[in-house]
């Protein structure tokens, strides 16, 4: 049996090992070498891109702080019903004092206070003030604590306080994501934020809408410029190219600030219009600190990202095609629309993706020229990162933004087809 199978068995290489195996080994060696070659890039992408994104995703649901700082309290609160409307029993207060003595020792109680303050206004000072007094207590001898704690701060006599602690005690939370879509986590489940605090959905919508407008205006402006660049004689088109690239090399902040000087009511554009008599002195145009300002400035800033891919695609369109069409009697318009335009679509596609994705995450330009109605969701993300320190919410907002971009990319692929995108 064995003999037979060996005879009919695999072909052997010169050294006696099966050919398949030997081939696999040499291929593996090749793959390993290729992997080694790309490893610097791989590691770079890994540490500068994938790891941060993963940690951001994780941060948007991570909520270990409550259970870590107040382990005994969280356990004692298990049996308490948030709906009862009554205060928890002495056992909870006792557990809380034990937890807090440790937390104050490690200086963790105020951190927990600022975490819970995102959910319920007043928690920050409640923890800070109580911490000072609780430091002096001995959990073994000073009980019972219920009355004493309420004496220290009336907040401990409000069932709402305990309800917030219990609601936000799980180590993994959907609370940040709920906040990111203008909802909040309550003991009764997810609920809408009060009307006067809803802002984030609106900002998401505005970010998408304005990015689309900016992309569209970039297409309109860039198409003729790219066409000129691709068709004019080399010497002239080089000069034009420099004019396109010059602003591209200028600092973003400088360009944005320059727009401020141009667009403000006592600015260059308004002064000129008033001087020409086109606009009355008391009815100067308001074209900054609103959506128009953001659209104008960002269209200018992102224009090169549209022109360059369009130009390189248009350069590859052979002029013979249009000549052929004309020789067969097509009008100028028909030649353009039926022959030239379809061939330039991959350039439009590439430019649009670049501009749209850059626009959706823009932060500094809307901040400077956007006023109140022209700011994007990224401005809120920046606020939560650097001012309110609510990194969980910032991470949730960022994750949603990332998901939206990926979704739109998928839709784009379905409609236009990602193969139909060329950078040249």
């Amino acid at each position: 049996m064995t003999d037979a199978s060996q005879n009919a068995g695999p072909m052997l290489a010169a050294d006696g090992t099966p050919l398949k195996q030997s081939l696999a080994r040499s291929l593996r060696r090749q793959k390993l070498r290729a992997l080694l070659l790309i490893s610097p890039l791989l590691l770079f992408v890994m540490f500068s891109f994938i790891v941060p994104i993963a940690s951001m995703l994780f941060r948007s649901v991570e909520n270990g702080m409550v259970a870590e700082t107040l382990p005994l309290t969280v356990e004692a609160l298990q049996s308490w019903d948030t709906q009862s409307g009554e205060l928890p029993e002495e056992a909870v207060y006792d557990a809380f004092v034990r937890d807090m003595v440790v937390a104050v020792e490690n200086k963790e109680h105020t951190r927990l206070g600022s975490r819970l303050n995102y959910e319920e206004t007043g928690m920050s000072s409640l923890f800070r003030k109580s911490g000072r007094k609780l430091k002096k207590m001995d959990p073994e001898t000073d009980g019972p604590f219920k009355e004493q704690l309420i004496e220290i701060h009336e907040g401990w006599g409000d069932p709402q306080t305990w309800s917030v602690i219990k609601t936000h005690s799980p180590a993994v939370t959907n609370g940040y994501f709920l906040n990111a879509v203008d909802m909040r986590r309550t003991p009764e489940g997810a609920q809408s934020q009060p009307e006067d605090k809803r802002i984030l959905i609106k900002l998401f919508g505005r970010t998408l809408f304005m990015s689309l407008v900016i992309t569209a205006s970039c297409i309109l402006l860039a198409y003729p410029v790219s066409y000129l660049l691709a068709t004019l004689p080399m010497r002239v088109s080089n000069l034009l190219m420099i004019l396109v690239l010059l602003p591209f090399w200028t600092s973003l902040l400088v360009r944005t600030s320059a727009w401020k000087v141009m667009l403000q009511q006592q600015g260059v554009i308004n002064e000129t219009l008033v001087w020409l008599g086109l606009v009355a002195d008391d009815a100067r145009l308001i074209i900054i600190n609103n959506q128009i300002g953001t659209i104008i400035a960002m269209t200018h800033i992102l224009l090169p990202f549209m022109i360059l891919p369009m130009y390189s695609v248009m350069q590859t369109i052979p002029p013979t095609y249009t000549r052929a069409a004309k020789s067969m009697g097509a009008t100028n318009w028909t030649t353009f629309w039926r022959i030239y335009f379809p061939q330039s679509i991959p350039g439009i596609g590439a430019g649009s993706i670049l501009v749209f994705i850059l626009a959706i995450g823009y932060y500094i330009t809307p901040e400077i020229v956007g006023g109140t109605k022209g700011v994007f969701i990224s401005n809120r993300i920046a606020y939560h990162i650097s001012s309110s320190l609510n990194w969980g919410l910032a991470a949730a907002l960022g994750t949603i933004l990332l998901a939206v971009v990926l979704l739109l990319y998928w839709v784009y692929d379905k409609i236009v087809g990602i193969d139909n995108v060329k950078l040249g």
């Binding site: 490690n106 200086k107 963790e108 105020t110 951190r111 206070g113 600022s114 303050n117 995102y118 206004t121 007043g122 928690m123 920050s124 000072s125 800070r128 006067d196 605090k197 809803r198 802002i199 609106k202 900002l203 403000q264 009511q265 006592q266 600015g267 600190n289 901040e367 006023g371 109140t372 109605k373 700011v375 809120r380 990162i385 650097s386 001012s387 309110s388 320190l389 609510n390 990194w391």
Partner: protein
């Protein structure tokens, strides 16, 4: 080729030796004229005295977020950080700043008054060493307000007497207080009213009366630029910025000190420094916040020293040669009607009211 090489080696050796022996510390501040005043008043004399090289980092605007990130990464690269009091409270709450004992870690006044008494109420957090008192107040264009220049803060809300644009900071803090004061709420009741949803709505409604005429700023330099361009007729900003527009750039702008809101700026030392670096930071703090040094800073910028004992020592501007005392927010003439920012209140209510305010702005 060879001499060059020797020279390079020598230079490299010298640098290596230098970095081994010289002590360095990184001090974080706001940049611009403010950092310059600290350089002249604190850093240069301190380096001369101690031999420590001071590196500047202008990251104070992002200090809280960056310190938190450094703390999470376990690598704190800053030694002393300049922050506003509200940020100091947050850092202290988050356990990111070291607690300071004013009696042992800060210098007493020359007459022997303890540092705790000399700073008095300004020690608003256990981690915070106050340095200056600044105020957020209004400046107006003298040539655009007509014959009756504004005398009180409610001129901001008076579109009939003072038509035109005004600038306000793009956040709830300060604006809500001014709105309530001008809506008839007594100064002492402002924060009690603001703690209620009705009070917040009242403040927003008052701001709503001028909303269409407001340019919202987010950088301290915005209002001075808008005033200089004639884009607005009045606007809020930090008093030191207005000083430089008026005195250094000679623009037709005047101060409206009424209902100026006092705030504090000062130092914190990050928590978790090594023993050696902490000692060095404390040594710097002891020097830089003594009575004379705080008074020296006022030669370069119009912010009031945080120590009571420094006030009599405030002299003239180092370059302009004008008396600085009348330009201090704490000067009795300017401080006739002031408002003290309530840290405790904003630490609690900031997230809540800010969310409402931003939603209101976006409407």
């Amino acid at each position: 080729m060879k001499p060059t090489k020797t020279l390079l080696t020598a230079a490299a050796l010298a640098t290596a030796a230098g970095s081994l022996s010289a002590e360095e510390m990184t001090i974080v501040s706001w940049g611009g004229a403010y950092s310059k005043s600290q350089l002249k008043a604190y850093h240069e004399p301190y380096s001369e005295k101690s031999g420590v090289t001071i590196l500047n980092d202008d990251s104070s605007a992002e200090a809280v977020a960056k310190l938190r990130a450094m703390n999470e990464a376990g690598n704190i690269t800053w030694d002393v950080v300049d922050v506003v009091a509200a940020d100091a409270i947050r850092l202290c709450d988050e356990g990111l700043a070291m607690e300071i004992d004013p009696d042992t870690m800060l210098a007493p006044a020359p007459d022997g008054t303890s540092a705790a008494d000399d700073f008095g109420d300004l020690l608003v957090s256990d981690c915070f060493i106050p340095q200056i008192v600044y105020s957020t107040t209004f400046g107006y264009r003298t040539d655009l307000v007509g014959d009756t220049p504004p005398a009180d803060v409610c001129a901001v809300f008076d579109l009939e007497a003072y038509p035109g644009k005004r600038s306000l900071e793009k956040r709830a803090i300060n604006n809500m207080e001014w709105a309530l004061i001008c809506d008839g709420v007594a100064k002492d009741d402002v924060y009690d009213v603001l703690a209620t949803p009705e009070g917040q709505d009242q403040a927003l409604a008052k701001l709503g009366t001028i909303k269409d005429n407001v340019v919202w700023w987010s950088a301290g330099a915005d209002t001075p630029q808008l005033l200089a361009d004639g884009e607005i007729i009045m606007g809020s900003t930090y008093n030191g910025r207005l000083f430089s527009v008026i005195e250094e750039q000679n623009q037709p702008v005047a101060m409206l000190w009424d209902a100026q809101i006092f705030d504090l700026d000062g130092w914190i030392i990050p928590a978790g420094l090594s023993e050696e670096r902490q000692q060095r930071a404390l040594d710097y703090i002891m020097f830089a916040t003594d009575t004379q040094r705080l008074a020296d800073q006022a030669k370069y910028i119009s912010y009031g020293p945080a120590r009571a004992s420094s006030a009599p020592l405030v002299g003239q501007h180092a370059e302009l040669g004008i008396d600085m005392a009348p330009h201090m927010p704490t000067d009795p003439e300017n401080a006739k009607n002031t408002f003290l920012y309530n840290y405790e209140f904003w630490a609690d209510y900031r997230d809540d009211i800010e969310a409402k305010f931003q939603a209101w702005l976006a409407q």
